[in-house]
């Protein structure tokens, strides 16, 4: 088991810790719905230091990134972030990730904790470009300060004008007296806010400063449980649930990060899926009847009882106060308002396809 730098702090705050992706992580501090709503309505802090960070450096760094990712990284400029994925050789996805352009010859990739080793090996295998790669994951901490009041709290701690930073951009700057914090206008909650990357040795100081600055907004620590419900309300994919080694980004609704202005791993295959139309699609749905909460691997059926797909994520939505989910269905059932049935404990419970994000 691996431990984040603030492991003991989370334990002392009374967090329920679970193993996630090989790390001992806080899944809950006090109450999931309170944590969820704190982020939606004010501000909360996630320690997501388990996430992986790779630095790619060299004249051919962009060439390597273009060859292994689906999005067009040539559109990036210094200080710009891009959501992308790493397609595999079988038409699926190795991982989804963020690509940060620090300079023309220096990029950072932020990957899922569960896939650090897989991604590293995958990119290394394709590094025929002589790009220098550094796995910074073990030395870096990441705090996601999320919610509509995050910007007001964080502005007290830095001279960087946060309101001038566009969504999906970052700056390296001083924050809370710590030099070279990566201040990134990104997140996984759809609630606004920033993600802050720093050295492990500085993260306690940053955490304390953020909580002091957020006191007037009733800032609280938030666990991975609420992170999942927050991202799901916004229809954001979670690797291992909504996307995996077998799903095409086109089927997953990630056509917007799959650009055929360049070639990449299996790009012809995904282009054909896009042109011919996928046979299955990831959709959002909400339960129409009561009968339980949809969960990953529940079977989706049509009115006649034929299996037409599978749930990939589901929850009771704390903001909407109804049961929602995402899953793959045959394309003919993917239109908004299509009637589908989720098999929960051997009962067929009526649901309907809705547009995502849910909120």
């Amino acid at each position: 088991m691996k431990y984040v730098a603030l492991n003991d702090l989370h334990a002392s705050l009374g967090a329920k810790m679970i193993e996630f992706a090989g790390y001992n992580m806080p899944v809950l501090y006090t109450n999931l719905i309170q944590e969820h709503l704190a982020v939606r309505n004010s501000v909360g802090v996630f320690d997501v230091s388990h996430m992986g960070e790779f630095m790619l450096k060299g004249d051919k760094a962009l060439d390597l990134i273009q060859s292994v990712t689906s999005n067009d990284a040539s559109k990036l400029f210094d200080g710009k972030v891009q959501y992308s994925c790493l397609p595999n050789d079988d038409g699926g996805i190795v991982d989804d990730l963020l690509v940060y352009r620090y300079s023309e010859t220096e990029y950072y990739l932020v990957v899922n904790a569960s896939n650090i080793e897989k991604d590293w090996n995958w990119i290394t295998k394709h590094n025929t470009f002589g790009v220098e790669m550094v796995n910074m994951s073990d030395g870096m901490s990441l705090l996601a300060v999320q919610g509509p009041n995050a910007i007001k709290a964080l502005q007290k701690l830095t001279a960087v004008t946060l309101s001038e930073m566009e969504y999906y951009t970052f700056k390296m700057g001083e924050m809370a007296g710590i030099k070279d914090v990566i201040i990134s206008n990104t997140g996984y909650t759809g609630a606004g806010g920033f993600e802050l990357y720093c050295d492990n040795k500085d993260v306690r100081k940053l955490w304390d400063a953020v909580f002091e600055a957020g006191k007037e907004f009733n800032i609280i620590p938030v666990g991975l449980g609420a992170r999942d419900t927050l991202r799901l309300e916004k229809g954001l994919c979670l690797y291992g649930h909504d996307i995996n080694d077998t799903t095409s980004p086109i089927e997953a609704g990630l056509g917007w990060i799959t650009k055929f202005t360049k070639t990449f791993t299996k790009s012809d295959y995904h282009k054909a899926i896009k042109e011919n139309g996928p046979t299955k699609k990831l959709v959002g749905f909400e339960m129409v009847e009561r009968g339980g909460i949809p969960r990953q691997h529940h079977i989706i059926k049509d009115a006649a009882g034929n299996a037409i797909g599978e749930v990939t994520s589901g929850t009771q939505s704390p903001s909407l106060n109804k049961a929602i989910g995402m899953g793959y269905v045959k394309t003919e059932f993917s239109k908004v308002d299509s009637e589908i049935f989720i098999e929960i404990r051997e009962k067929q419970v009526k649901a309907k396809v809705v547009k995502i994000p849910f909120l």
Partner: protein
């Protein structure tokens, strides 16, 4: 956390209150706290005879699903009708309005094997 002395308990974190020939059954304060916000209670066993330790229903929190186990053998006589629209009663009043089923007692000797409050508290280190 609250563990009334007049109840009996199981290692699966159900409580049982004996009233003559019948028993009221629910989950403990510890169980509801561990589960978190309960959003759905699924008990479709009304009218069925269920053996001790078998499943009589399911409770769903936001992130978790947990089976409910019969503390004793018996028939499920009633299901708390309030839980269908107000599952949060299990969180807010685990031993009162959050009761789950009323059951008959098929075998009185099973009652003797249930945990008394001190034994249950010891089990959960309360």
């Amino acid at each position: 956390m609250n563990f009334p002395e007049n109840l009996l308990y199981t290692k699966d974190h159900e409580w049982i209150r004996i009233e003559g020939d019948t028993a009221f059954i629910g989950i403990t304060d510890f169980a509801q706290h561990e589960l978190g916000d309960i959003v759905y209670v699924d008990i479709s066993s009304k009218g069925k005879t269920i053996k001790q330790h078998d499943v009589f229903g399911t409770v769903e929190a936001v992130k978790t699903v947990s089976d409910l186990f019969m503390p004793i053998s018996g028939d499920v006589l009633e299901v708390n009708p309030k839980l269908d629209t107000a599952p949060e009663l299990v969180n807010n009043d685990a031993y009162g309005d959050g009761w789950m089923i009323k059951a008959s007692i098929a075998n009185k000797s099973e009652v003797d094997g249930l945990l008394k409050v001190d034994a249950y508290k010891a089990l959960i280190n309360a």
